[in-house]
């Protein structure tokens, strides 16, 4: 055996002549002190949160049994006689979401044109972008609480809250899409003597249209969920009916309401998702 034979770790088979084989050295484990530090810090934060929070964790012991009991009360069987009224309330929520989305689109579309680089002047562009990020930072429910505390609680003001909440995301998506669009058509319109409005309509819009339409649909899906939540704080619709039934502990009606919420949300997501794919890829799949 030559002195230069590599060190070999691990089990060796009956065949002891290892020189003909590839070297079986396990590479050293890479050391990453930075990643380790981050991992420790994250663990510390999580442990601290669990330890310091004002929660009696022993309550959790009875939770699974409790949950099963309540699920039984809700779904075994659900009170299907409330199905028509549950459906009606859901339709109101969806109407709220739809109207809010349409209003949000009507407000945000011109604003996002103005916020696009090369269209609006800088002194309009930056304040608008600031407004969009402000509106995105505040949860919709908080915007709703603000609007509702000023104008009172109706489904219409709920739709307004949804509209305001949508303007932030729709505005941002809009100007990002338009800035990512090809410059060529817009420049061509300009070169042919077109006005800014003509440039937007014939140069910019055709290339961003599919993307923007898909965003609108996606925002509608989000708003359907938001409108259910707004009902909980009094704006009407499925959320309000659900909160009332929970308060009076009419569990079999709550079960029906949950089923309706799930079915309606899933159906809207499916239809909207299919439409979005059709818009983006140009084909039904």
């Amino acid at each position: 055996m030559s002195a230069a034979a590599p060190p070999v770790r691990g089990k060796q088979g009956p065949d002891t002549d290892i020189r003909a084989r590839p070297v079986l050295v396990r590479p050293a484990r890479p050391r990453r002190p930075g990643a380790r530090l981050v991992f420790l810090a994250v663990t510390a934060v999580v442990v601290l949160a669990f330890w310091s929070v004002d929660i009696d964790w022993s309550q959790l012991a009875g939770f699974p049994a409790n949950l099963l009991r309540y699920l039984g009360l809700m779904f075994l069987p659900p009170d299907l006689s409330t199905l028509p009224s549950a459906f009606e309330a859901t339709v109101l929520s969806v109407q709220m979401a739809w109207l809010g989305t349409v209003l949000g689109i009507v407000i945000s579309l011109p604003l996002s044109f103005l916020a696009t680089a090369g269209v609006g002047p800088a002194w309009v562009r930056w304040p608008l972008r600031g407004l969009f990020s402000l509106l995105r930072a505040v949860p919709e429910v908080v915007i709703a609480v603000l609007i509702l505390s000023v104008t009172g609680l109706t489904a219409f003001t709920g739709a307004l809250a949804i509209a305001v909440g949508s303007v932030g995301t729709l505005g941002k998506w809009g100007y990002e899409a338009m800035e990512g669009a090809e410059r060529g058509p817009s420049e061509a319109v300009r070169a042919a003597g077109g006005s800014t409005a003509q440039m937007l309509r014939w140069g910019m819009w055709p290339s961003v249209q599919p993307e923007v339409l898909a965003f609108w649909l996606y925002r509608f899906e989000i708003n359907v969920r938001a409108s259910a939540i707004l009902g909980l704080i009094g704006a009407g619709g499925i959320g309000k009916v659900l909160a009332d039934n929970v308060q009076f502990r009419i569990w079999d009606a709550v079960g029906t309401l949950l089923i309706v919420v799930v079915v309606v949300t899933v159906v809207i997501d499916l239809v909207s998702g299919a439409l979005r794919r059709k818009i983006i890829t140009g084909a039904w799949r």
Binding site: P139, V141, F156, L232, A243
Partner: protein, 258 residues
Amino acid sequence: MRPVRPRTAWKGLLVLAVVAVITVWAGFGVQVDVGALIKNFSNAADKVVLLAQPDYGFFPETLSALAQTLQMAVIATAAGAAIGLPLSFLASRVTDPSRPLVAVVRSVLNVVRSVPDLLYAAILVTIVGTGALSGVIALVLFNVGIVVKLISEAIDAVDRGPLEAALATGATWVRADRAAVLPQILPVYASQTLYVLELNVRASTVIGLVGGGGLGILIDQVRTFYRYHQLSLIILEILVVVVLLEAASSWLRKRLVS
């Protein structure tokens, strides 16, 4: 020569007409009443003035609720991410050889995800009582849905070579997943966990509105007593926390995935 004028887009007009009809129908449904709105709004002008002047003296009283909001968000994120990871492996065709199981896990979580977090909280508050625990459970339910969707999609897209190699050496599925798939999705997992934390901080500020603990409880109190100075301070706090956290999180996420 002038190019031929494009034909009128009948399809586009038809879509527009359908949208208009639905919008009008929705308008009747929610009883649009601009007159009442304007009347209410002029009555409420003084409230807007109050809202524009946050009561900074109220800040010390909000601190414990603010802390609870952050605690709830962290706990729910940790629990949701921990429960979601193994379920994601069960929900991807790459790592789960049983097609029926994939279908079951996916559809159950689709159902779980289609109910908004505040609806869960509203129901859980009566089951486990008001307070942070019901809020945390509601957030965890919602988080598991999101984590599994995002992570199982990441698993669907991994390079299958290492997994096949590991299975060929006789490794069990669990060990092969651990050695060949987990390292590939770890950056995405960390990044999406941060994203879920962002969602949770927003949600946990409002989950108290239905009794789930955190700043929302405070919002509910000050709004029932019409203390607009204090309401605007709370909203300012939410704004600061959300903006700071999102800035930090998006910076970290960019570093993680690139």
